[in-house]
């Protein structure tokens, strides 16, 4: 039988990493990571604080040398040709990379020169991108005067001014309030729609990563699971039931025969429910009314997926 003509050797992945390890003394920050991200994909690297996301991004982006392992951006070997690799990538750091004493325009002008863009090109692209992010009126304002959300948006504009093929976004929403986090996600969506660039994003707000094409969970530098967000969430069930009770053990014993395994966090138990129909849950609520002090039913999200995986449980209820 002849395989369909998708030839991996002529269309290399946008980002590929094999056996990536980074040790800091006794600490292994990244522990044997393999990644293969096709061109155009929106990829989420998810994990709690300290799980090795930033270290991974910096290795992919030529800034930190892996202890072992190999990274390619397109067909460029990152450790052999770091400058060529950097020409292909944009990186928005977890922390701001702007000069607060300069204006928005001056910052972008500076970034444009650094990427060897002619002044006219950098001026035109800045204008377009600021328009895309609804920031045109901030152009001549000093960066100090921008809100946190605006500043992050400007950081992203700065990171894509040279039209990179691959964009790394390290925690683009960290430290922002909910409306601003939503706005940043909207901006990323617009940018992807316009340029079709490959995007690798990290976040420890796992639940917000559902717009990604594919996510991968890491913990202590190791990959724990990966997949398409909707499929992962579906595997978990249709609903998550959160119940609070003073006597959790009794409640758990009562619900387990019907709902199966649960996770315990403080005085809250999390159960999965596989059916769309809520009548079974309603019945159980009535039956346990004297035990439960709170009862919430909601849709599962990627954070639940991560919690269940981390607890070492099968996703399927």
């Amino acid at each position: 039988m002849i395989a369909p003509a998708i030839d991996q050797t002529t269309t290399p992945a946008a980002i590929s990493a094999a056996g990536l390890v980074k040790r800091y003394g006794a600490l292994t920050a990244v522990d044997g990571l393999d990644l293969e991200i096709p061109a155009g994909q929106f990829f989420g690297l998810l994990g709690p604080n300290g799980s090795g996301k930033t270290t991974t991004i910096h290795m992919l982006a030529t800034l930190v040398r892996p202890s072992t392992g190999r990274v390619r951006i397109g067909d460029i070997d990152v450790s052999q040709h770091p400058v060529l690799a950097r020409r292909q990538i944009g990186l928005v750091f977890q922390e701001s990379a702007l000069d607060r004493t300069l204006t928005v325009r001056e910052n972008l002008r500076f970034a444009g020169w650094l990427y060897n863009l002619p002044a006219a090109v950098s001026e035109r692209r800045s204008a377009e991108l600021l328009e895309l992010f609804d920031m045109t009126d901030r152009r001549d304002k000093p960066v100090v005067t921008l809100s946190g959300g605006m500043r992050r948006a400007l950081d992203i504009v700065r990171g894509v001014l040279h039209e990179p093929r691959v964009l790394f976004l390290d925690e683009p929403t960290i430290g922002l309030d909910l409306p601003n986090r939503r706005r940043i996600w909207r901006f990323i969506e617009r940018l992807r729609a316009r340029t079709g660039m490959t995007v690798l994003l990290t976040t420890h707000y796992l639940e917000e990563a559902s717009p990604c094409d594919r996510v991968c969970f890491i913990r202590k530098g190791k990959l724990v699971d990966e997949g398409e967000p909707a499929a992962l969430v579906d595997k978990l069930g249709r609903h998550i039931l959160e119940v609070e009770a003073d006597d959790l053990d009794t409640l758990k014993a009562r619900l387990a025969p019907k709902l199966g395994d649960c996770l315990i966090d403080g005085d809250t138990a999390f159960f999965r429910h596989g059916e769309e129909d809520l009548s079974e849950l309603a019945q159980l609520q009535t039956d346990t009314a004297e035990l439960a002090t709170a009862w919430r039913v909601r849709r599962p999200n990627l954070n639940d997926v991560f919690m269940w995986i981390s607890a070492g449980k099968e996703l399927r209820a």
Partner: protein, 266 residues
């Protein structure tokens, strides 16, 4: 290829310098105070130094001072860049990282030259610039002295993690470099140990070259030959750039930028 990134760093330095008016004003006032207060005071005590009035002897020293302070402060913005994050913008740009060091050295030298030129204009208006000045040599001296001062600044910056210890840098780098040079008195008149220190201080050779340029071709005030001055200044600058680039190219140089939130508590 590399011209635009270097221009970016130079332009930013000039924009910031012009915006920080107090930095510019104090760069002019400091040397004038030295010249008028110390120069007049010491002048009455010392009288002549190597056959010229003490105040005139001091002119190359105060121009050197402006360059030293100007270049040091500009080069030390590299530490500010690391702390504030602008350096992140530079290390992710597609250029070998030693160019960042070179660009910062050039921009610090440029800041120093501009300040020195401004001071020279002021001094000329006050009648302190001698008619015997060799302007071609002066131009060369300004250029390579400011580069050497920028080199001192860049070396300091590459061994400094935060600007919290700026006072320490003032006390243990800038002041010693200035005082233990030929700026205030001829090197040959210094006690032996200080003379020895002044001889290994690259800045000494910058001031010496300025003396050659400004105090007349037959001056006795200079301590070394022009050729010695020029070779020492150029060699030192190259060495300083090499060491700073090496310091900078190790990835630990990025740690302060990468580890504000997640890094080990310092």
């Amino acid at each position: 290829m590399i011209a635009r990134p270097i221009y970016a760093v130079l332009e930013r330095e000039v924009v910031r310098m012009l915006r920080q008016k107090t930095r510019l004003v104090s760069a002019m006032v400091r040397p004038l105070i030295w010249l008028l207060v110390i120069g007049t005071g010491f002048g009455t005590v010392i009288g002549e130094s190597r056959g010229i009035p003490y105040q005139s002897f001091l002119i190359p020293g105060v121009i050197g001072m402006t360059m030293l302070f100007g270049a040091m402060l500009a080069a030390l913005t590299t530490v500010y860049d690391k702390e504030s994050g602008v350096m992140r913008m530079m290390i992710i740009a597609p250029l070998p990282h030693f160019w960042i060091v070179i660009a910062k050295v050039l921009s610090a030298a440029l800041a120093a030259i501009l300040q020195a030129l401004l001071l020279i204009v002021l001094l000329a208006l006050l009648g302190f610039i001698s008619a015997e000045t060799d302007f071609a040599l002066l131009a060369l001296a300004l250029l390579i002295t400011s580069l050497a001062c920028a080199g001192i600044g860049m070396l300091t910056a590459s061994f400094t993690r935060t600007l919290d210890n700026f006072a320490a840098i003032m006390n243990f780098v800038i002041f010693p470099v200035f005082f233990l040079s030929g700026s205030l008195y001829p090197v040959q008149n210094l006690p032996e140990i200080l003379r020895w220190i002044a001889t290994i201080n690259p800045y000494t050779y910058g001031v010496d070259l300025l003396k050659h340029a400004m105090l007349g071709s037959t001056t006795m005030a200079a301590d070394f030959s022009r050729l010695t001055d020029i070779s020492v200044l150029i060699s030192f600058t190259l060495l300083a750039i090499a060491i700073s680039s090496w310091r900078f190219s190790r990835e630990t140089a990025y740690e302060p930028m990468i580890h504000r939130l997640t890094g080990p508590k310092r």
